[in-house]
Symmetry: D2
Subunit: 457 residues, 4 copies
């Protein structure tokens, strides 16, 4: 009694086919949701008098006992049985006997697995959102601890303008907030119950789908049975969200890896978060960050994998759709690992403040402020830009710092320059001047930090 079908077949399934079509090695992860779904289903069958009340009660009791085993990690999956649904059905049969055969009434594995997967997705979205929040908190705390640190801001990996380190870190907090928002939007679309759609057409038995939705905590029931069993949009949305999120993490990892290079020297991770080399005794490597960066590849791959699988499939359910689970499970487990280890790594990290000072003392970082100085004196920006470009060129040619150029020389480029320009050749001054909304001035950054403090509570 290992299969949920077979009456019309005259031959046993070929062993190669058994192995090739089996999904139990990964769909065992749905065990909890499968049992919960079955409990609700059995109750509904009883309530709607599709099966006898006492049969319903027996089934529910048997399933609860299985649930207990699953929760204790003591459920023994039989890898010889094709999927989690058949596994549980079999064990139920062993526990409660022939009445177990009444459970799979008015239900197909098509609507059953879609239900399991949505329950899993909903729980995982909540879990991941909480992990993202932890990472945001780690970033906010790291920003607070280093509130006064100024670093060179980069565009094109060239020195652009000085920025507050906290401001840089909060850029990631913004990205992560969008990631949570995307997951919340997806959650709404997960929160629709397919159970009761049968194989594709609904059922002739008098089921109560609203009861099921309520029992299983779904906000709504699906409106079209064909769509309900054919739809994996919610999985694709999660995979897309995780891809964008993993891209954010890859950027964060890249920044941190750069900062840890001897040439930048801005960041030190704790020994406990680095690894060494089997050949080179001096090495202390940011392997964790590299694996976080690399994980973008795996998550993009999972997204493409399911998009391709779904491409061009006729309605309704096709077995191809079994390949939705591995990408989903793999992307979410990898993400979970990345978020945890990144949060802990950042909590352990130290900024090399002295090096931050050295790097941000590059006076060219202030060239834009000097152009804006000219604008305030009435020079058209384009001209101001041109003047400053020429001064930079002059300084580079003479191998001088801007502060080493005497005022008289400045005035040759523009009569508007006065003594006060020298004060502008300072990163902290430049940072302080960026008072525009969303800018990098301490005033703005503190506002952002307070805002996050509230939002991440």
């Amino acid at each position: 009694m290992t299969k949920l079908w077979g009456g019309r077949f005259k031959k046993k399934t070929h062993p190669l086919v058994e192995k090739f079509t089996s999904s139990i090695v990964y769909d065992y992860k749905l065990a909890k949701y499968d049992v919960l779904g079955s409990i609700a289903h059995a109750k509904m069958l009883g309530k709607c008098k599709i099966i006898l009340a006492k049969d319903s009660a027996k089934i529910v009791q048997g399933l609860k006992s299985i649930l207990g085993q699953i929760e204790k990690g003591k459920f023994a999956f039989d890898k010889g049985v094709e999927d989690i649904h058949s596994n549980i059905q079999n064990i139920l049969g062993k526990k409660i006997g022939k009445v177990a055969e009444k459970l799979h009434t008015a239900r197909s594995r098509n609507d059953q697995v879609a239900t399991d997967l949505r329950m899993y997705a909903k729980e995982e979205i909540k879990n991941q959102k909480s992990k993202i929040k932890n990472l945001q908190l780690a970033l906010v705390n790291f920003a607070k601890k280093n509130i006064e640190v100024v670093i060179p801001g980069f565009t094109h990996l060239q020195h652009a303008q000085p920025v507050s380190l906290a401001h840089h870190l909060l850029a990631y907090v913004e990205m992560l907030e969008r990631d949570k928002a995307r997951l919340s939007d997806t959650y709404k679309r997960c929160d629709v119950l397919p159970l009761g759609s049968g194989a594709l057409s609904g059922t002739s038995l008098p089921i109560d789908r609203n009861y099921l939705a309520k029992a299983l905590g779904f906000a709504a029931v699906s409106a079209n049975s064909i769509d309900a069993v054919s739809d994996r949009d919610f999985v694709l949305e999660i995979l897309a969200n995780v891809s964008i999120l993993s891209m954010h993490l890859s950027r964060m990892a890249e920044d941190l890896i750069l900062w840890m290079s001897p040439e930048f020297g801005l960041l030190e991770l704790d020994d406990a978060f680095c690894t060494g080399s089997s050949l080179m005794p001096q090495k202390k490597n940011p392997d964790v960050l590299e694996l976080v960066r690399a994980n973008a590849g795996a998550s993009y791959g999972n997204l493409i994998s399911l998009l391709v699988t779904m491409k061009g499939l006729p309605l309704s359910y096709n077995r191809d759709m079994q390949l939705d689970k591995l990408p989903l499970f793999s992307s979410l487990e990898d993400l979970n690992g990345c978020l945890e280890v990144l949060s802990a790594s950042i909590e352990s990290a130290q900024i090399n403040k002295n090096q931050a000072l050295i790097l941000s003392s590059d006076e060219l970082l202030c060239a834009t402020d000097l152009a804006e100085y000219l604008v305030k004196k009435g020079v058209a920006f384009k001209e101001a830009h041109n003047i400053m470009g020429k001064i930079v060129s002059y300084a580079l040619g003479k191998q001088k710092f801007l502060s080493e150029i005497p005022l008289g020389q400045w005035k040759k480029f523009s009569a508007c320059f006065e003594k006060d320009i020298y004060k502008l050749l300072d990163s902290e001054t430049c940072v302080s001047a960026k008072k525009s909304s969303g800018g990098t001035s301490p005033q703005q950054v503190k506002k952002q930090l307070q805002n996050w403090k509230k939002r991440l509570r």
Copy 2:
């Protein structure tokens, strides 16, 4: 005066570099948004007294004249000028003289292009949603015209249970509704103004970003200038949404192509929507549907393209991000074409009702209803399934239709069978019985149709 930079450079840009870095061949599509953004920006500069009121007015006037040219399709792009921003700046200079040099104050191309792209994205989302709605309407109308048609429902491309054609079509309407919902969610995240973030750090000039947001119809201003210029999430979201949508369209196309094959023979497209062969005189091919199906490839490719480009980029802006535009433009234009041509194709299509009758007369489609018949008589479903499996096997072995098997023979499989089973061997009867919520019974399908009629108004 063709570049927005250059003062510090001692050599002219190499022609290979000019060509390689140029984006005007595609970013000219942003012209309208670029000018609208500049008009708001110039007004704000005047209002905030960063430039003189009269200069602001002159610039605005010049830009409005350019806008007029663009809207009339008469703006002459200069392909020798690297991008749309420089193009417009140059023309403005020619129109209004030196005062044009004041426009690009307190602004970088980094925040400017992000603003342009968001304006484009917002308008396109509205456009595509309306096109999706048209396709939904075409499907709903097609469903209504063929409300009585029953076809075999398929799982695994094998006959499963009979379904209403309208029900099948409405499955696509459901998918498309989710597509619109996803675009609406993305719209919220497009609706945040980056302008005023400068190159990456904000500005030392006293700008008013809320004024800009209001003038340009944005719901909010971005909170972090580094994030604002580094963020392309909104583009990725659109590309992911279009990928899922194009997957839906590929499935619809696949169904229709199958239905048009001589073997299915269910659907006829109008001659005006088919093409022929240069060699085979009899051919009438569904090229339109094939190209719609194929388009999934292009849209997935565009999604992957930008995901890859963004992977591992350090903050903040990097030139890599210029490669966000081609995928976005291409995915949206392709989608627009697919939606238009599919809507029109479906409006022109005819169902071969006679063939629908023939195909759905396969009595095996009713096997499940007979199992549920047994369940209503108290047989456990698993046993009922097994009984019916054996009967099917018997019928196939004898090469008989189920209706050809005498009752006595049925009773050998289960004593519960009575004369009324023969009435169940009818697709329409089976369809009518699926009264469960979301099921394929006429009653449920009419409810769905009414619901869509309201929602798509």
Copy 3:
């Protein structure tokens, strides 16, 4: 003694990091190659007098004992130890004591793992090529068994021209032959030994890399140590080859699924190669073929995954590259399963010859031959095409078969038509006429079959 590094670290690795960076759960698959590589390495170290001969001998002996365990499936991997290299090093230490510490001399895990992976790749390429050949043989045998069967040839899933079933099947044999050729080309690039490149720069110890290459069966040693440890081209090539191959299999699966649909009815798979439904008792589903089709998604995903991971990595080795293994292992194992199960499925399949006759009796399939008939009489092809198009249109309008149109009517379209046209309205005749090289005539197809018989010996 669980790590190959650690001297400079003052803290233990954080448990989260241990778990996150561990690769033993998948790289245990390299165990055999790792030991074989180490045996050759130890011998070389002894031969070059970098370690004592007796130490070399002891190490080799220890490793051989480990190899024996691995081959018997009795090697106990310790999941607490980060990778396969450290696992084996540890066990070796337990077996032979302190002398084991001399093995990892003049070697880094960077060149070691690259070597292991290349050895694995070489063996797997041989294995897969043999599996591909089996599938080719299954197709050739199936073709031979049904040598006389004519089916409609399709373009655009519309009837195009009649073709020999064997010719259709041999199209797949051609594709598979290219797949083998690609793998052979890739093999050449796998066959280069990185061992001896150290971490990235080579070594100051007097090693003999040619000895290693010979001992391990590599055709050459790598020429540049930095490239040697940074290169994963060979993995990407395999993943690309598998992607193209899985695309071929997806097309074959699609054809077979179509042929198995009741509407086509051309193909019957054995019960042992099909599965059923938990709800619908009559179902016999081609799940195997659907999973083969779906597998294209997984293989494309794996390809993209590693392409993304490698994108933008600076030289030389980065930990990101650890994520090369899962995609490679997964793509090759999936492929292996697909090839095996497809071969066996095809061996079990039956063509419904009667249905082939019915479907290919569509006279429109012969329209092109009639146009070519006119060409032989001197009509320009374009005109001939047009004439036949009009006749088809006429026949469809009258709802007549072409053979029902009297000669007089044909002559109204072209005076060149004579009585012999009616003989051309026959699929077998049309097939026989395609005597052009590579065409579908029995003569050509038999030539192809003979050719394959020889090549696949």
Copy 4:
């Protein structure tokens, strides 16, 4: 007379369909190959007496005149005509009258376009290989100019061991050589002629395909007509090869971008190869390199695009396959641009030799050599590694350079240390010691350079 089909159609094609299915906006690039193919085809038709010799001559003459126009860039494509084949057919008709209608005999657009595309592919492979060679030469020359420069070698973007800059550059030359080898392998599979396969089944007319192959410079004719029109493997191979190549270029770009950052300060690109900022006057950005890096995204996207399009297509030709051209054209044109601009950029680049000295003076780079020093004295490597790890840890704790630690202190870690260790604390010494084959010693690197000099001649 704008279409190659139409006789059986009763309605004009819908304008939306005309626009949606048109490919002339991109397939005009095949014009030259299409005409060359047609010339050979017309000659063959004459030679085989399928058309009259004088008709063949007239057609060839007309086509040659068109070829002349195309080569002079004077062929006027009509965007209202669906594809390049119809365009040329139409113009031919206008030039030579009704006899043009005989050209498209024994040919379908299916085999015609496959032939055109293979001719294009073959020419492009030759072109790209020559561009790759130019880039290799630029790297080799740059290596030669800086033959004495030592830089820190990196793993995990941490200082690993000192390497020769030339050695680092030659790693890219190795990668590019594999890229050429892959393209050469693919060339063999492009070099098979599909022409003469008709729509899918061959032809009943007595064509001579070997004549065509010879005339068009193909090494062989395709063996199976169904495969010939359904196969796009050669396009996919090119796209895969370009993806791997673009990945290599992205890594090279990343290295160069890093080296150009102020923190590394190793590389200076010429002003002519950099661009500036519209806001920040001091900026000199490596936009070219960033776009090269980003291009990996576009090329991966193109690869995935076609892989997806081909997934699950039944045999034989389907219109989906029209979407093979844009990815192919786009990947090759982008690649061409990247190769050209990278070669020129590298030719213009300067190494900051002083900075190379400073960065490679990091004594920790020599830690491995000191461990190998101990090995030479008989210490087991694992112990030597551990000893050096402890010394590094000691030095870091004391904030001392290794050279500042007195010998007495060294001896506390191992009695084997002698005075000569201080000489090893020098990058050049360490580099010189890597005499192993493929290692970074000047001796090995010069051997590599000589080798390349010969191979790239």
